[in-house]
């Protein structure tokens, strides 16, 4: 097993600064969804991780903790993740993305 980043939606959506989306070295990995925040009553959306693309560097953890000062990202063993986003289940819309969360171990295992 290996570590991947996991963003706490509640903590992120309270700030929603999008900084981590600009600092992850991997493309199309930290995504942004309006609905995931606004559905929970927040003004803006949240960042989330396409865990199948995450290389586990934890650079985003530093960015959220030190630059955004929001501590929303933690590294978690991939098989211990709650439901998570994977590339196959992410849809792009005009200015946002929509993710159907699933058990990444089942999706990636397939």
């Amino acid at each position: 097993m290996y570590l991947v980043a996991n963003i706490d939606v509640e903590i992120c959506a309270s700030k929603s600064c999008k900084l981590c989306t600009q600092y992850c070295p991997e493309a199309n990995t930290i995504q942004y969804s309006e609905a995931m925040g606004t559905d929970r009553g927040f003004k803006y959306g949240t960042a989330y991780i396409a865990v199948d693309r995450c290389k586990g560097c934890a650079l985003c953890v530093w960015v959220c903790d030190t630059m955004a000062k929001n501590n929303a990202i933690k590294m978690i063993m991939i098989d211990q993740l709650p439901l998570a986003a994977v590339t196959d289940n992410i849809r792009y819309e005009e200015k946002t993305t929509v993710a159907v969360l699933s058990n990444p171990m089942i999706v990636i295992g397939n």
């Binding site: 600009q22 493309a27 693309r53 934890a58 630059m67 792009y92």
Partner: protein, 300 residues
Amino acid sequence: MSLDYVKFSGGFEKFMPKEYRDMVEHGPFGKKISVSQMGSFKEILEEHPMCAGCAMTLFIRLAIIAFPNPEDTITVGTAGCGRLAISQAAIPFVYGNYGDQNGVASGLSRGLRLRFGDKPKDVVVMAGDGGTADIGFQQVLHSWFRKERFTTIMLDNEVYGNTGGQESGMTNRGAVLKMAPLGKKFEKMDMLQMAKVAGCAYVATVVPNNPRRVESVIKKAVLIAREVGSTYIQAYTSCNIEYAIPTDKVMEDAKTVENDRYQFTEYVSDEAKQYLTERYGYKDYLPKAAAPAAAIPNKT
């Protein structure tokens, strides 16, 4: 080399992988995309084998997003880590032998001008510090002296990263590396000064811990290279493997190095300033309102 190449061929849409469909429908081609929209559109850089947490990877990701017309851009690379990612983007990539990237790019940019006339086709070289300042040095300098109209970007990780840690001309004096165990005995080469002496119209240093600045520098360099002359960007893109930087500290290192020896610098020739102002509406180079009419435009 136009918006046509990112369309589906008739009847093939349903057979294409999701990543390709997303790119055609929600990629940056033909749109004005900026780093502030990252995470909300499909990037044209795909998965690649560069190391986890590599700052060079981040820089390449930002650079590709910043290309003013990705659908009309060709990248040129050479041996070294960067090509492992640059080659995995949905824009044409030309790979030359180690060090001949600026020679290849010279021919390519001239050929494109013959073929397409004034329609801008941007050529962008991205190569390591070894590829640019050591092995490719002669071709790099000559392309600048000839004022070849393309952009050269040095991915400066201050080491030969791809081959396990030999010193390069851009390594700092005293640095001890796996294959330079006694420490480097000479100073880091001043490629910025050389670029200016050789007549580059735009020369800038940048560090990827400031994505908006990376975006602005890349855009200016590519636009100036369309008509005015050679442009050069030197980017600090640490190698966390050879310099043993914990991956979660890569941006902290970038900040430290930026403050120490990689402060943002930008040189824009007068001709390039005029061109950016008149052609692309840049306001930074207009004379300051309070300054007397004869003052030389300030560089900001």
